[in-house]
């Protein structure tokens, strides 16, 4: 969590993004340490998804740059993204979806078999390897998306509100599962959410963004150790206080975003 002398896994320098007249992201600079789980929260439309898409290589920043430190010669991909909502290919089985990244970089068949088997086992969907996404529940589908990203073994994982479409119970189970899988290798994660609870449950550090244009409003450390027990954590007074503090910060921005919308509308 403390950066300093160690080379950060991701160094974002003065990134801005404009869509015509609209300033989506305004001068975001942050270092993310190797193995850090950074959660970004912000009101809708604050550019957090755009920032993630820039890191994923799906958009170009208008100004600024970012650098991901990758160990040389391992041939591992820089990032893998878990998309918001359904992003599994409906025409592929669970197994083929999970194997997609490895196949695209022409990994040897034996490696694909081992890695995909491992992650399907981790998410408890080995039985469904031959099923198609439409045969699964929303929670199961999102687990496969996560397995697909992890199986590709990237330097950094990017997650764009992966649980936002799930009901409360499923969300809790998946947060726990995500933490379990993540503990295995402790990859660097950038996770976007609009749920303050989720941010505190998952993150090492939380970045609060302002309403449009999206700037870094505040960075705070989450003082809870690992591994975390999600159920226990939520009962602690410190948890409630932190959620409250973040929510107070966020509330200003949500109110501001709302008044902006009313003015424009």
């Amino acid at each position: 969590m403390v950066t300093g002398a160690v080379t950060p896994a991701i160094r974002i320098t003065n990134i801005s993004k404009f869509f015509g007249q609209l300033i989506a992201i305004d001068d975001v600079t942050i270092d993310i340490a190797a193995g850090e789980f950074l959660v970004i929260v912000g009101p809708s439309g604050c550019g957090k998804t755009t920032l993630l898409r820039i890191l994923a290589g799906l958009e170009q920043p208008s100004v600024g740059a970012f650098k991901v430190t990758t160990p040389k010669g391992l041939g591992r991909p820089e990032n893998a993204m878990v998309f918001q909502g359904d992003s599994l290919f409906p025409w592929m089985t669970v197994w083929d979806n999970t194997a997609y990244g490895l196949r695209m970089r022409r990994a040897p068949a034996a490696q694909i078999k081992e890695v995909v088997g491992h992650y399907l086992d981790r998410i408890g969907l080995t039985r469904f390897a031959k099923s198609y996404p439409h045969e699964l529940s929303g929670g199961m589908r999102q687990r496969v998306s996560i397995a697909r990203a992890f199986a590709n073994d990237p330097e950094i994982l990017l997650m764009d509100e992966p649980f936002s479409a799930l009901d409360a119970q499923n969300k809790l189970l998946l947060q726990e599962e995500l933490l379990h899988i993540w503990e295995e290798h402790k990859k660097t994660v950038v996770f976007i959410t609009h749920s303050v609870d989720e941010a505190v449950i998952l993150g090492d550090r939380i970045m609060i963004m302002t309403a449009q244009p999206g700037r870094v409003k505040m960075l705070l450390d989450v003082p809870f150790g690992r591994p975390r027990n999600v159920m226990e954590l939520q009962r602690e007074a410190k948890f409630g206080n932190l959620v409250h503090d973040i929510w107070m910060q966020l509330r200003e921005e949500v109110d501001r975003a709302r008044s902006q919308n009313e003015m424009n509308g």
């Binding site: 994923a56 799906l58 991909p77 993204m81 998309f83 992003s87 592929m92 695209m104």
Partner: protein, 248 residues
């Protein structure tokens, strides 16, 4: 209790009855039409030179099958249809999908397709016969051109309707252009492509029939067309055929 028990089987037999009744109706209505036709032809209300009775058509069909002529013509037409389908369909599929993926190529090719699509395909037939001759090439060309448009246009529309997130996933996982084509665009657009294939086969059948009527010496469409007097005179002596109505 008893009321409930009796109510359920009643409902079941009713749906079964309705279903089998509908099936019987679907079977009977064409039979009834054929019967009516037969009766009207025999009584003389229908001119049998134009509308020979179904029984007569059937006997001609059997004669043609015995001589092997019908099978030969069917095989010839189907071969032309199949070859033309591949010759027109494969480029259509590739061009359509690529147009769906790449907006520059779409801007380039779309106006060409939009401009040539409304041309009635049958009106190209004389040109096809002149350039490609009376052989197989002109028939295959006609089928190919009929198959091309529906498949290309549906493939393009199908690719454009693929949820963008799938292309993002491909991009994020560093899929090559070929991989995007193979693993995302093609399977994602497949339902629309299949619609295009169905329309294309329909169009191909129409065009092969026309091409064979006008410019061929074989195939299913060939015996349908009125011949010139010489050829007609020769054939009239041969046998009684569906072609009888040619003489008028």
């Amino acid at each position: 209790m008893t009321e409930v028990v009796t109510a359920i089987p009643q409902a079941k037999t009713w749906t079964l009855n309705r279903r089998s009744r509908e099936r019987i109706i679907s079977f009977l209505s064409p039979v009834a039409l054929l019967l009516l036709w037969e009766v009207l032809a025999r009584v003389g209300i229908l001119d049998t030179r134009f509308f020979p009775a179904p029984s007569q058509i059937l006997s001609t069909l059997l004669t043609m099958m015995k001589s092997g002529e019908l099978q030969d013509d069917t095989l010839i037409s189907m071969t032309r249809l199949a070859v033309g389908f591949l010759v027109g369909g494969i480029p259509a599929l590739i061009i359509g999908v690529v147009m769906g993926l790449n907006s520059t190529l779409r801007a380039m090719i779309d106006p060409l397709i939009a401009a040539t699509y409304p041309i009635p395909k049958s009106s190209i037939l004389p040109l096809a016969l002149l350039v490609l001759g009376l052989g197989e090439a002109s028939k295959i060309f006609m089928v190919a051109i009929g198959v091309f448009y529906p498949i290309a246009m549906n493939a393009m529309a199908g690719v454009r309707e693929i949820n963008k997130v799938y292309l993002d996933v491909g991009h994020n996982f560093k899929a090559s252009r070929w991989d995007v084509f193979r693993t995302i665009a093609l399977p994602g657009a497949m339902p629309m492509i299949m619609t295009g294939v169905k329309l294309g086969i329909g169009m191909g059948l129409v065009l092969i029939a026309i091409a064979e009527m006008v410019g061929a010496k074989s195939g299913l469409g060939y015996p349908l067309a009125p011949r010139n007097a010489d050829a007609y005179a020769r054939e009239v002596n041969n046998t009684t055929r569906i072609r009888q109505w040619d003489c008028v």
